[in-house]
Protein backbone atom coordinates (compact mmCIF):
# COMPACT_ATOMS: atom_id res chain seq x y z
CA UNK A 1 0.00 0.00 0.00
CA UNK A 2 1.06 3.54 -0.58
CA UNK A 3 2.19 3.87 3.00
CA UNK A 4 1.57 6.30 4.67
CA UNK A 5 -1.47 6.57 2.37
CA UNK A 6 -4.27 4.04 1.98
CA UNK A 7 -3.95 1.40 -0.66
CA UNK A 8 -4.77 2.47 -4.22
CA UNK A 9 -6.92 0.18 -6.41
CA UNK A 10 -4.12 0.00 -8.99
CA UNK A 11 -1.67 -1.40 -6.44
CA UNK A 12 -1.08 -5.11 -5.86
CA UNK A 13 -0.51 -5.31 -2.17
CA UNK A 14 1.59 -8.27 -1.01
CA UNK A 15 4.69 -7.12 0.90
CA UNK A 16 3.15 -3.89 2.10
CA UNK A 17 -0.20 -5.30 3.17
CA UNK A 18 0.48 -4.74 6.86
CA UNK A 19 2.48 -1.50 6.72
CA UNK A 20 1.21 0.78 9.46
CA UNK A 21 -0.35 -2.05 11.47
CA UNK A 22 1.47 -2.35 14.82
CA UNK A 23 0.07 -5.82 15.40
CA UNK A 24 2.04 -7.21 12.46
CA UNK A 25 5.25 -6.25 14.28
CA UNK A 26 4.80 -8.88 16.95
CA UNK A 27 5.39 -12.58 16.58
CA UNK A 28 1.85 -13.47 17.65
CA UNK A 29 0.36 -10.87 15.33
CA UNK A 30 2.46 -12.06 12.45
CA UNK A 31 1.41 -15.65 13.00
CA UNK A 32 -2.22 -14.51 13.02
CA UNK A 33 -1.56 -12.99 9.60
CA UNK A 34 -0.33 -16.36 8.34
CA UNK A 35 3.30 -15.76 9.23
CA UNK A 36 5.89 -18.53 9.66
CA UNK A 37 3.83 -21.07 7.70
CA UNK A 38 6.34 -20.76 4.87
CA UNK A 39 9.31 -21.39 7.15
CA UNK A 40 7.63 -24.45 8.66
CA UNK A 41 7.05 -25.72 5.16
CA UNK A 42 10.58 -24.87 4.03
CA UNK A 43 12.38 -26.82 6.73
CA UNK A 44 10.46 -29.88 5.59
CA UNK A 45 11.62 -29.42 2.00
CA UNK A 46 15.00 -30.15 0.45
CA UNK A 47 17.36 -27.22 -0.14
CA UNK A 48 17.23 -27.88 -3.88
CA UNK A 49 13.45 -27.83 -3.98
CA UNK A 50 13.37 -24.36 -2.42
CA UNK A 51 15.98 -23.04 -4.84
CA UNK A 52 13.99 -24.48 -7.75
CA UNK A 53 10.78 -22.90 -6.53
CA UNK A 54 12.41 -19.48 -6.24
CA UNK A 55 14.00 -19.92 -9.67
CA UNK A 56 10.64 -20.80 -11.17
CA UNK A 57 9.02 -17.71 -9.62
CA UNK A 58 11.21 -15.41 -11.68
CA UNK A 59 12.11 -13.36 -8.58
CA UNK A 60 14.97 -10.97 -9.29
CA UNK A 61 17.11 -9.05 -6.80
CA UNK A 62 15.44 -5.90 -5.51
CA UNK A 63 18.67 -4.23 -4.37
CA UNK A 64 19.34 -2.64 -7.73
CA UNK A 65 20.93 -5.06 -10.15
CA UNK A 66 17.94 -7.36 -10.71
CA UNK A 67 19.94 -10.57 -10.71
CA UNK A 68 17.73 -13.72 -10.65
CA UNK A 69 17.55 -14.79 -7.02
CA UNK A 70 17.15 -18.55 -7.46
CA UNK A 71 20.06 -18.63 -9.86
CA UNK A 72 22.23 -16.73 -7.36
CA UNK A 73 21.35 -19.26 -4.67
CA UNK A 74 22.19 -22.14 -7.00
CA UNK A 75 25.81 -20.91 -7.22
CA UNK A 76 26.37 -21.91 -3.60
CA UNK A 77 28.28 -25.19 -3.15
CA UNK A 78 26.00 -28.22 -2.86
CA UNK A 79 27.98 -29.72 0.00
CA UNK A 80 28.61 -27.67 3.05
CA UNK A 81 32.23 -28.39 3.84
CA UNK A 82 32.98 -24.91 5.14
CA UNK A 83 30.47 -22.57 6.81
CA UNK A 84 28.09 -20.84 4.40
CA UNK A 85 26.74 -17.37 5.14
CA UNK A 86 23.72 -15.38 4.16
CA UNK A 87 24.01 -11.61 4.31
CA UNK A 88 20.89 -9.50 4.21
CA UNK A 89 21.58 -6.09 2.76
CA UNK A 90 19.63 -3.58 4.86
CA UNK A 91 21.96 -0.67 4.21
CA UNK A 92 19.37 1.17 2.10
CA UNK A 93 21.18 4.41 1.30
CA UNK A 94 20.46 4.97 -2.37
CA UNK A 95 18.96 8.48 -2.61
CA UNK A 96 15.26 8.15 -3.37
CA UNK A 97 14.87 4.70 -1.82
CA UNK A 98 13.04 4.07 1.46
CA UNK A 99 11.24 0.74 1.09
CA UNK A 100 13.46 -1.63 3.08
CA UNK A 101 13.05 0.67 6.03
CA UNK A 102 9.27 0.20 5.96
CA UNK A 103 9.61 -3.57 5.60
CA UNK A 104 11.78 -3.66 8.72
CA UNK A 105 9.70 -1.18 10.68
CA UNK A 106 6.33 -2.77 10.00
CA UNK A 107 6.88 -6.38 9.04
CA UNK A 108 10.14 -7.43 10.68
CA UNK A 109 9.01 -11.04 10.84
CA UNK A 110 8.49 -11.14 7.08
CA UNK A 111 12.16 -10.36 6.70
CA UNK A 112 13.24 -12.76 9.44
CA UNK A 113 11.22 -15.53 7.84
CA UNK A 114 12.67 -14.76 4.42
CA UNK A 115 16.19 -14.76 5.85
CA UNK A 116 15.63 -18.07 7.60
CA UNK A 117 14.28 -19.74 4.46
CA UNK A 118 17.07 -18.37 2.30
CA UNK A 119 19.72 -19.35 4.84
CA UNK A 120 18.43 -22.91 4.89
CA UNK A 121 18.21 -23.03 1.08
CA UNK A 122 21.85 -22.01 0.66
CA UNK A 123 23.14 -24.24 3.44
CA UNK A 124 23.90 -21.43 5.87
CA UNK A 125 23.35 -21.63 9.60
CA UNK A 126 23.96 -17.96 10.13
CA UNK A 127 22.58 -14.86 8.51
CA UNK A 128 23.96 -11.41 9.18
CA UNK A 129 21.54 -8.57 8.62
CA UNK A 130 23.53 -5.40 7.98
CA UNK A 131 21.33 -2.45 8.94
CA UNK A 132 22.52 1.08 8.21
CA UNK A 133 23.45 2.95 11.37
CA UNK A 134 20.96 5.75 10.83
CA UNK A 135 17.98 3.36 10.91
CA UNK A 136 17.49 3.63 14.65
CA UNK A 137 13.84 2.59 14.68
CA UNK A 138 14.16 -0.41 12.31
CA UNK A 139 17.13 -1.49 14.43
CA UNK A 140 15.02 -1.58 17.58
CA UNK A 141 12.08 -3.27 15.87
CA UNK A 142 14.30 -5.91 14.27
CA UNK A 143 16.09 -6.63 17.55
CA UNK A 144 12.81 -7.18 19.35
CA UNK A 145 11.51 -9.37 16.52
CA UNK A 146 14.59 -11.58 16.43
CA UNK A 147 14.34 -12.10 20.18
CA UNK A 148 10.70 -13.09 19.82
CA UNK A 149 11.45 -15.45 16.94
CA UNK A 150 14.17 -17.16 18.97
CA UNK A 151 11.85 -17.51 21.96
CA UNK A 152 9.18 -19.03 19.70
CA UNK A 153 11.57 -21.56 18.22
CA UNK A 154 11.47 -20.07 14.72
CA UNK A 155 15.20 -19.39 15.02
CA UNK A 156 17.90 -21.17 16.95
CA UNK A 157 19.37 -24.64 17.22
CA UNK A 158 16.22 -26.54 16.30
CA UNK A 159 13.97 -24.48 14.04
CA UNK A 160 10.39 -25.61 14.67
CA UNK A 161 11.65 -28.99 15.81
CA UNK A 162 13.23 -29.77 12.43
CA UNK A 163 16.74 -30.17 13.79
CA UNK A 164 17.85 -27.35 11.48
CA UNK A 165 20.01 -24.59 12.96
CA UNK A 166 19.44 -21.00 11.82
CA UNK A 167 20.75 -17.96 13.63
CA UNK A 168 20.21 -14.32 12.70
CA UNK A 169 22.72 -11.71 13.82
CA UNK A 170 21.94 -8.02 13.38
CA UNK A 171 24.91 -5.85 12.56
CA UNK A 172 24.78 -2.06 12.70
CA UNK A 173 26.48 0.02 10.02
CA UNK A 174 28.10 3.32 10.85
CA UNK A 175 27.45 5.70 7.99
CA UNK A 176 28.87 4.87 4.56
CA UNK A 177 26.78 4.52 1.39
CA UNK A 178 29.42 2.33 -0.18
CA UNK A 179 28.80 -0.41 2.40
CA UNK A 180 25.61 -1.19 0.46
CA UNK A 181 27.83 -2.61 -2.27
CA UNK A 182 27.98 -6.30 -1.53
CA UNK A 183 31.71 -6.84 -1.19
CA UNK A 184 32.18 -3.58 0.73
CA UNK A 185 29.51 -4.88 3.08
CA UNK A 186 31.49 -8.06 3.62
CA UNK A 187 34.60 -6.07 4.46
CA UNK A 188 32.61 -3.89 6.82
CA UNK A 189 31.15 -6.96 8.54
CA UNK A 190 34.66 -8.30 8.98
CA UNK A 191 35.65 -5.12 10.84
CA UNK A 192 37.40 -3.39 7.95
CA UNK A 193 37.01 -0.18 6.01
CA UNK A 194 34.17 -0.56 3.53
CA UNK A 195 36.19 -0.89 0.36
CA UNK A 196 34.62 -3.00 -2.39
CA UNK A 197 36.62 -6.08 -3.38
CA UNK A 198 37.75 -7.02 -6.84
CA UNK A 199 35.63 -9.81 -8.35
CA UNK A 200 36.27 -12.66 -8.96
CA UNK A 201 36.28 -14.41 -6.60
CA UNK A 202 32.50 -14.06 -6.39
CA UNK A 203 30.81 -14.22 -2.98
CA UNK A 204 29.43 -17.72 -3.61
CA UNK A 205 33.03 -18.94 -3.83
CA UNK A 206 34.80 -16.73 -1.32
CA UNK A 207 32.67 -14.11 0.38
CA UNK A 208 32.26 -13.21 4.02
CA UNK A 209 35.23 -14.46 6.09
CA UNK A 210 36.39 -16.10 2.86
CA UNK A 211 33.46 -18.51 2.95
CA UNK A 212 30.70 -19.19 0.40
CA UNK A 213 28.24 -16.34 0.82
CA UNK A 214 24.98 -15.17 -0.68
CA UNK A 215 23.89 -11.58 -0.29
CA UNK A 216 20.36 -10.39 -0.90
CA UNK A 217 18.37 -7.25 -0.43
CA UNK A 218 15.66 -6.92 2.25
CA UNK A 219 12.80 -6.74 -0.25
CA UNK A 220 14.09 -9.77 -2.16
CA UNK A 221 14.16 -11.88 1.01
CA UNK A 222 10.80 -10.60 2.24
CA UNK A 223 9.20 -11.85 -0.99
CA UNK A 224 10.42 -15.42 -0.47
CA UNK A 225 7.85 -16.56 2.14
CA UNK A 226 5.03 -15.47 -0.18
CA UNK A 227 6.51 -17.52 -3.00
CA UNK A 228 6.66 -20.64 -0.84
CA UNK A 229 3.16 -20.08 0.51
CA UNK A 230 1.40 -19.32 -2.73
CA UNK A 231 3.66 -21.02 -5.23
CA UNK A 232 6.04 -19.98 -7.97
CA UNK A 233 3.26 -20.00 -10.57
CA UNK A 234 1.25 -17.43 -8.64
CA UNK A 235 4.28 -15.14 -8.34
CA UNK A 236 5.26 -15.56 -11.96
CA UNK A 237 1.75 -14.66 -13.05
CA UNK A 238 2.15 -11.28 -11.36
CA UNK A 239 3.40 -9.49 -14.44
CA UNK A 240 1.79 -7.45 -17.14
CA UNK A 241 3.04 -9.04 -20.30
CA UNK A 242 6.79 -9.29 -19.78
CA UNK A 243 7.71 -12.68 -18.29
CA UNK A 244 11.27 -11.50 -17.50
CA UNK A 245 10.02 -9.19 -14.75
CA UNK A 246 7.67 -10.91 -12.35
CA UNK A 247 6.10 -10.31 -8.98
CA UNK A 248 5.33 -7.11 -7.17
CA UNK A 249 7.72 -4.24 -6.61
CA UNK A 250 7.74 -1.62 -3.93
CA UNK A 251 8.22 1.80 -5.48
CA UNK A 252 9.37 4.57 -3.18
CA UNK A 253 8.17 7.83 -4.67
CA UNK A 254 9.55 11.12 -3.40
CA UNK A 255 10.05 14.69 -4.49
CA UNK A 256 7.37 16.74 -6.19
CA UNK A 257 4.26 14.60 -6.01
CA UNK A 258 1.14 15.11 -3.94
CA UNK A 259 1.33 11.78 -2.11
CA UNK A 260 4.90 10.57 -1.71
CA UNK A 261 5.23 7.11 -0.21
CA UNK A 262 5.76 3.43 -0.91
CA UNK A 263 3.49 1.91 -3.53
CA UNK A 264 3.44 -1.75 -4.43
CA UNK A 265 2.77 -2.54 -8.05
CA UNK A 266 2.73 -5.53 -10.33
CA UNK A 267 5.79 -5.50 -12.54
CA UNK A 268 4.97 -3.82 -15.83
CA UNK A 269 2.54 -1.25 -14.42
CA UNK A 270 2.62 1.95 -16.50
CA UNK A 271 4.74 4.61 -14.79
CA UNK A 272 1.99 7.08 -15.64
CA UNK A 273 -0.35 5.23 -13.26
CA UNK A 274 2.18 5.46 -10.47
CA UNK A 275 2.92 9.13 -11.01
CA UNK A 276 -0.62 10.40 -11.49
CA UNK A 277 -3.14 7.92 -10.11
CA UNK A 278 -1.28 6.65 -7.08
CA UNK A 279 0.82 9.68 -6.20
CA UNK A 280 -1.68 12.31 -7.33
CA UNK A 281 0.68 13.94 -9.82
CA UNK A 282 2.71 17.10 -9.19
CA UNK A 283 1.68 19.79 -6.72
CA UNK A 284 -1.20 22.01 -7.90
CA UNK A 285 -0.24 24.30 -10.74
CA UNK A 286 3.00 22.45 -11.48
CA UNK A 287 4.12 20.07 -14.18
CA UNK A 288 6.65 17.28 -13.90
CA UNK A 289 9.95 18.02 -15.61
CA UNK A 290 12.09 14.98 -14.85
CA UNK A 291 11.91 11.61 -13.14
CA UNK A 292 14.78 9.53 -11.82
CA UNK A 293 13.10 6.12 -11.65
CA UNK A 294 15.53 3.85 -9.83
CA UNK A 295 17.37 5.73 -7.15
CA UNK A 296 19.91 8.44 -7.93
CA UNK A 297 22.31 6.08 -9.71
CA UNK A 298 20.29 5.71 -12.92
CA UNK A 299 19.87 8.07 -15.88
CA UNK A 300 17.35 10.89 -15.55
CA UNK A 301 14.19 10.52 -17.66
CA UNK A 302 12.28 13.32 -19.30
CA UNK A 303 8.55 13.54 -18.64
CA UNK A 304 7.83 12.05 -22.07
CA UNK A 305 10.06 9.05 -21.36
CA UNK A 306 8.58 8.55 -17.91
CA UNK A 307 4.98 8.84 -19.08
CA UNK A 308 5.47 6.23 -21.76
CA UNK A 309 7.47 3.69 -19.72
CA UNK A 310 6.25 0.43 -18.27
CA UNK A 311 7.64 -0.05 -14.79
CA UNK A 312 9.72 -3.22 -14.90
CA UNK A 313 13.37 -4.07 -15.52
CA UNK A 314 13.09 -4.07 -19.31
CA UNK A 315 10.43 -1.38 -19.62
CA UNK A 316 12.48 1.32 -17.95
CA UNK A 317 15.60 0.39 -19.94
CA UNK A 318 13.60 0.74 -23.13
CA UNK A 319 12.93 4.36 -22.19
CA UNK A 320 16.52 5.22 -21.47
CA UNK A 321 17.03 4.47 -17.79
CA UNK A 322 17.01 1.58 -15.31
CA UNK A 323 14.70 0.20 -12.64
CA UNK A 324 17.53 0.13 -10.08
CA UNK A 325 16.14 0.15 -6.55
CA UNK A 326 12.82 1.66 -7.73
CA UNK A 327 13.34 4.83 -5.73
CA UNK A 328 11.48 7.27 -7.92
CA UNK A 329 12.53 10.90 -7.61
CA UNK A 330 10.08 13.32 -9.21
CA UNK A 331 11.15 16.84 -10.11
CA UNK A 332 8.71 19.52 -11.21
CA UNK A 333 9.19 22.56 -13.43
CA UNK A 334 10.64 24.65 -10.58
CA UNK A 335 13.63 22.36 -10.22
CA UNK A 336 17.08 23.64 -11.09
CA UNK A 337 18.44 20.56 -12.84
CA UNK A 338 22.04 21.77 -12.84
CA UNK A 339 21.96 22.41 -9.12
CA UNK A 340 20.45 19.00 -8.37
CA UNK A 341 22.90 17.20 -10.65
CA UNK A 342 25.69 18.98 -8.80
CA UNK A 343 24.17 17.90 -5.49
CA UNK A 344 24.12 14.29 -6.70
CA UNK A 345 27.71 14.50 -7.94
CA UNK A 346 28.68 15.84 -4.52
CA UNK A 347 26.96 12.86 -2.96
CA UNK A 348 29.05 10.43 -5.01
CA UNK A 349 32.24 12.40 -4.37
CA UNK A 350 31.54 12.24 -0.65
CA UNK A 351 30.70 8.54 -0.72
CA UNK A 352 33.53 7.34 -2.99
CA UNK A 353 35.73 4.96 -1.03
CA UNK A 354 38.60 6.48 -2.99
CA UNK A 355 40.49 3.32 -3.92
CA UNK A 356 40.05 3.74 -7.71
CA UNK A 357 41.65 6.80 -9.26
CA UNK A 358 38.92 7.30 -11.87
CA UNK A 359 36.28 7.39 -9.16
CA UNK A 360 38.15 9.39 -6.54
CA UNK A 361 39.32 12.04 -8.99
CA UNK A 362 36.38 11.84 -11.37
CA UNK A 363 33.65 12.37 -8.77
CA UNK A 364 35.59 15.25 -7.21
CA UNK A 365 36.32 16.97 -10.52
CA UNK A 366 32.79 16.54 -11.79
CA UNK A 367 31.54 18.20 -8.63
CA UNK A 368 33.98 21.07 -9.03
CA UNK A 369 33.17 21.69 -12.68
CA UNK A 370 29.46 21.75 -11.89
CA UNK A 371 30.16 24.12 -9.01
CA UNK A 372 31.97 26.43 -11.41
CA UNK A 373 29.02 26.41 -13.79
CA UNK A 374 26.59 27.16 -10.96
CA UNK A 375 28.81 30.03 -9.85
CA UNK A 376 28.45 31.62 -13.28
CA UNK A 377 32.01 30.78 -14.30
CA UNK A 378 31.23 27.92 -16.66
CA UNK A 379 32.62 27.67 -20.18
CA UNK A 380 31.36 25.94 -23.32
CA UNK A 381 34.29 23.52 -23.01
CA UNK A 382 32.87 22.33 -19.71
CA UNK A 383 30.30 20.19 -21.52
CA UNK A 384 33.02 18.16 -23.15
CA UNK A 385 35.05 18.12 -19.96
CA UNK A 386 32.12 16.68 -18.00
CA UNK A 387 31.41 14.10 -20.68
CA UNK A 388 35.08 13.09 -20.83
CA UNK A 389 35.20 12.75 -17.05
CA UNK A 390 32.06 10.63 -17.15
CA UNK A 391 33.44 8.45 -19.92
CA UNK A 392 36.50 7.85 -17.79
CA UNK A 393 34.36 6.94 -14.80
CA UNK A 394 32.23 4.37 -16.60
CA UNK A 395 33.07 0.67 -16.70
CA UNK A 396 36.61 1.11 -15.41
CA UNK A 397 36.44 0.75 -11.66
CA UNK A 398 36.12 -1.90 -8.96
CA UNK A 399 32.48 -1.14 -8.28
CA UNK A 400 29.83 0.88 -10.10
CA UNK A 401 29.65 3.86 -7.75
CA UNK A 402 31.76 5.69 -10.26
CA UNK A 403 29.38 4.84 -13.12
CA UNK A 404 26.51 5.96 -10.92
CA UNK A 405 27.96 9.43 -10.66
CA UNK A 406 28.24 9.64 -14.43
CA UNK A 407 24.61 8.58 -15.02
CA UNK A 408 22.86 11.78 -13.90
CA UNK A 409 25.59 13.97 -15.41
CA UNK A 410 25.51 12.46 -18.89
CA UNK A 411 21.72 12.13 -19.04
CA UNK A 412 21.36 15.60 -17.55
CA UNK A 413 23.53 17.19 -20.23
CA UNK A 414 21.72 15.23 -22.95
CA UNK A 415 18.24 16.04 -21.80
CA UNK A 416 18.49 19.39 -20.01
CA UNK A 417 21.36 21.07 -21.81
CA UNK A 418 19.61 24.43 -22.08
CA UNK A 419 19.70 24.80 -18.29
CA UNK A 420 23.49 24.43 -18.30
CA UNK A 421 23.69 26.84 -21.24
CA UNK A 422 21.70 29.44 -19.29
CA UNK A 423 24.27 29.46 -16.47
CA UNK A 424 27.19 29.53 -18.87
CA UNK A 425 25.71 32.38 -20.90
CA UNK A 426 25.03 34.39 -17.76
CA UNK A 427 21.30 34.29 -18.53
CA UNK A 428 20.66 32.79 -15.13
CA UNK A 429 21.73 34.18 -11.74
CA UNK A 430 24.56 32.17 -10.19
CA UNK A 431 23.22 29.89 -7.44
CA UNK A 432 26.55 29.20 -5.75
CA UNK A 433 29.26 31.58 -4.65
CA UNK A 434 32.38 31.52 -6.84
CA UNK A 435 34.86 28.83 -5.85
Amino acid sequence: MGYPHPSHPKETVVLSKHFGDPEARTYAGWVRHGGYEALRKAVGMSREAIVEEVKASGLRGRGGAGFPTGLKWSFMPKDVVRPHYLVCNADESEPGTFKDREIMRWTPHALIEGCAIAAYAIGAERCYVYIRGEFTEPWKVMNAAVEEAVAAGALGDDVFGSGKRIEIVLHRGAGAYICGEETAMMNSLEGRRGNPRIKPPYPAVAGLFGMPTTINNVETLAAVPHILNRGAAWYKALCLGNPKSTGTKLVSVCGHVQRPGNYEVTMGTPMRDILYDMCGGPPAGRTIKAVIPGGSSVPIMTLEEAESALFDYEGVVEKGSMLGSAGMIVMDDRTDMVYQIWRLARFYAHESCAQCTQCREGTAWTTRVLERILAGKGKQEDFQLLLDLSENMTGKTICVLSDSCAAPVVSGIQKFRSEFEAYIAGAREPSLAAV
Binding site: P83, E92, S93, E94, P95, G96, T97, F98, D100, R101, R126, R132, G133, E134, F135, T136, E137, E167, V169, H171, R172, G173, A174, G175, A176, Y177, I178, S188, L189, E190, G191, R192, R193, G194, F209, S252, V253, C254, G255, H256, P260, G261, N262, S296, G327, I329, M331, T335, Q340, R343, L344, F347, A349, H350, E351, S352, C353, A354
Partner: protein, 176 residues
Protein backbone atom coordinates in the same frame (compact mmCIF):
# COMPACT_ATOMS: atom_id res chain seq x y z
CA UNK B 1 35.67 8.95 2.59
CA UNK B 2 36.02 12.57 3.47
CA UNK B 3 34.06 12.34 6.71
CA UNK B 4 30.88 14.23 7.36
CA UNK B 5 30.18 17.59 5.76
CA UNK B 6 30.64 20.73 7.69
CA UNK B 7 34.28 21.00 8.65
CA UNK B 8 35.60 20.87 12.16
CA UNK B 9 34.92 24.39 13.36
CA UNK B 10 34.45 24.51 17.12
CA UNK B 11 35.89 21.10 17.78
CA UNK B 12 39.25 22.33 18.97
CA UNK B 13 41.69 19.75 20.18
CA UNK B 14 40.44 16.83 22.16
CA UNK B 15 41.04 17.24 25.89
CA UNK B 16 43.67 14.86 27.23
CA UNK B 17 41.49 13.45 29.99
CA UNK B 18 42.30 10.23 31.67
CA UNK B 19 40.58 7.35 29.93
CA UNK B 20 38.22 5.28 32.02
CA UNK B 21 37.98 1.86 30.39
CA UNK B 22 34.71 1.15 28.62
CA UNK B 23 34.94 -2.63 28.41
CA UNK B 24 34.39 -3.58 32.02
CA UNK B 25 31.43 -5.12 33.82
CA UNK B 26 28.25 -5.47 31.76
CA UNK B 27 29.77 -3.82 28.67
CA UNK B 28 32.58 -6.35 28.70
CA UNK B 29 30.01 -9.12 29.07
CA UNK B 30 28.05 -7.75 26.10
CA UNK B 31 31.20 -7.77 24.01
CA UNK B 32 32.09 -11.30 25.09
CA UNK B 33 28.59 -12.36 24.06
CA UNK B 34 29.16 -10.77 20.64
CA UNK B 35 32.40 -12.71 20.18
CA UNK B 36 30.26 -15.85 19.96
CA UNK B 37 28.36 -14.45 16.96
CA UNK B 38 31.37 -13.95 14.69
CA UNK B 39 34.23 -16.22 13.69
CA UNK B 40 36.81 -13.47 14.31
CA UNK B 41 37.28 -10.88 17.02
CA UNK B 42 38.00 -8.25 14.42
CA UNK B 43 34.43 -8.56 13.12
CA UNK B 44 33.29 -7.08 16.43
CA UNK B 45 35.07 -3.82 15.66
CA UNK B 46 32.05 -1.81 14.47
CA UNK B 47 29.87 -3.05 17.36
CA UNK B 48 32.68 -2.30 19.85
CA UNK B 49 33.06 1.22 18.50
CA UNK B 50 29.31 1.75 18.88
CA UNK B 51 29.59 0.66 22.50
CA UNK B 52 32.34 3.21 23.10
CA UNK B 53 30.34 5.97 21.50
CA UNK B 54 27.24 5.05 23.51
CA UNK B 55 29.22 5.16 26.72
CA UNK B 56 31.37 8.22 26.06
CA UNK B 57 29.63 10.21 23.35
CA UNK B 58 32.69 10.09 21.10
CA UNK B 59 35.72 7.96 20.34
CA UNK B 60 38.98 9.29 21.73
CA UNK B 61 42.53 8.20 20.92
CA UNK B 62 42.63 6.40 24.25
CA UNK B 63 39.37 4.62 23.52
CA UNK B 64 40.82 3.56 20.17
CA UNK B 65 43.73 2.11 22.10
CA UNK B 66 41.40 0.22 24.39
CA UNK B 67 39.36 -1.20 21.50
CA UNK B 68 42.56 -2.25 19.74
CA UNK B 69 43.68 -4.00 22.88
CA UNK B 70 40.45 -5.86 23.44
CA UNK B 71 40.15 -6.98 19.82
CA UNK B 72 43.85 -7.73 19.37
CA UNK B 73 44.30 -5.14 16.62
CA UNK B 74 46.67 -2.20 16.35
CA UNK B 75 45.49 1.31 17.26
CA UNK B 76 46.49 2.54 13.79
CA UNK B 77 44.28 -0.10 12.21
CA UNK B 78 41.33 0.77 14.42
CA UNK B 79 41.79 4.45 13.67
CA UNK B 80 41.75 3.72 9.95
CA UNK B 81 38.40 2.02 10.34
CA UNK B 82 36.92 4.65 12.66
CA UNK B 83 37.68 7.44 10.21
CA UNK B 84 36.10 5.59 7.28
CA UNK B 85 32.61 5.76 8.81
CA UNK B 86 30.83 9.09 9.20
CA UNK B 87 28.78 8.22 12.28
CA UNK B 88 31.70 7.80 14.66
CA UNK B 89 32.74 11.03 16.32
CA UNK B 90 36.46 11.51 16.71
CA UNK B 91 35.91 14.77 18.59
CA UNK B 92 33.52 15.68 21.38
CA UNK B 93 30.21 16.95 20.04
CA UNK B 94 27.26 18.81 21.56
CA UNK B 95 24.94 17.01 23.99
CA UNK B 96 22.57 16.52 21.08
CA UNK B 97 23.87 15.58 17.69
CA UNK B 98 21.67 16.64 14.81
CA UNK B 99 22.00 15.14 11.33
CA UNK B 100 20.03 16.70 8.49
CA UNK B 101 19.62 15.15 5.08
CA UNK B 102 20.24 17.55 2.20
CA UNK B 103 20.59 15.08 -0.69
CA UNK B 104 18.63 15.88 -3.86
CA UNK B 105 15.25 14.30 -3.01
CA UNK B 106 15.12 16.30 0.23
CA UNK B 107 16.97 19.22 -1.30
CA UNK B 108 14.21 19.83 -3.85
CA UNK B 109 11.72 19.82 -0.99
CA UNK B 110 13.46 22.54 1.00
CA UNK B 111 16.11 20.76 3.10
CA UNK B 112 18.54 23.67 2.92
CA UNK B 113 16.00 25.93 4.63
CA UNK B 114 15.66 23.35 7.39
CA UNK B 115 19.45 23.46 7.85
CA UNK B 116 19.39 27.26 8.09
CA UNK B 117 16.60 27.17 10.65
CA UNK B 118 18.43 24.55 12.70
CA UNK B 119 21.71 26.45 12.69
CA UNK B 120 19.88 29.54 13.86
CA UNK B 121 17.63 27.98 16.50
CA UNK B 122 20.37 25.88 18.05
CA UNK B 123 22.82 28.74 18.04
CA UNK B 124 25.38 26.61 16.26
CA UNK B 125 25.79 29.19 13.52
CA UNK B 126 27.70 26.91 11.20
CA UNK B 127 27.76 23.28 10.23
CA UNK B 128 29.95 21.08 12.41
CA UNK B 129 30.21 23.68 15.15
CA UNK B 130 28.94 23.12 18.67
CA UNK B 131 26.59 25.73 20.08
CA UNK B 132 28.11 27.99 22.77
CA UNK B 133 25.87 26.38 25.41
CA UNK B 134 27.21 22.95 24.43
CA UNK B 135 23.76 21.63 23.63
CA UNK B 136 23.94 21.00 19.90
CA UNK B 137 26.10 20.10 16.96
CA UNK B 138 24.42 20.14 13.55
CA UNK B 139 25.78 18.45 10.46
CA UNK B 140 24.52 17.86 6.94
CA UNK B 141 24.36 14.23 5.92
CA UNK B 142 23.53 12.30 2.79
CA UNK B 143 20.25 10.45 2.20
CA UNK B 144 18.77 9.08 5.43
CA UNK B 145 16.57 6.58 3.61
CA UNK B 146 13.33 8.41 4.30
CA UNK B 147 13.10 10.58 1.19
CA UNK B 148 9.31 10.44 1.03
CA UNK B 149 9.12 12.33 4.31
CA UNK B 150 11.21 15.42 3.68
CA UNK B 151 13.11 16.61 5.53
CA UNK B 152 14.11 13.81 7.88
CA UNK B 153 16.54 14.62 10.66
CA UNK B 154 18.19 12.51 13.32
CA UNK B 155 18.53 14.05 16.76
CA UNK B 156 20.69 11.59 18.65
CA UNK B 157 18.73 8.35 18.10
CA UNK B 158 15.41 10.05 17.39
CA UNK B 159 14.46 9.87 13.74
CA UNK B 160 12.14 12.78 12.98
CA UNK B 161 10.33 13.00 9.64
CA UNK B 162 8.68 15.83 7.71
CA UNK B 163 10.67 18.59 9.37
CA UNK B 164 9.99 22.06 7.99
CA UNK B 165 11.62 25.35 9.06
CA UNK B 166 8.45 26.19 11.01
CA UNK B 167 8.74 23.04 13.10
CA UNK B 168 12.39 23.54 13.99
CA UNK B 169 11.88 25.72 17.07
CA UNK B 170 9.53 23.22 18.70
CA UNK B 171 11.92 20.36 18.03
CA UNK B 172 14.95 22.20 19.37
CA UNK B 173 13.07 23.03 22.58
CA UNK B 174 12.52 19.34 23.27
CA UNK B 175 16.26 18.78 23.70
CA UNK B 176 17.95 20.42 26.69
Amino acid sequence: MSGSHGGTAGHGTAPAEEHIPVFTGPTRARLEQLFTKYPTRQACLLPALWMVQEARGWISEQAIGEVADVLELTPAYVKGVVTFYTMYHTHPVGRHFVQVCTTSPCNICGAEDVVKALLQETGCGELGATSPDGRFTVIEVECLGACGFPTPILVDDDFIENVTPEKVRGIVQRYQ
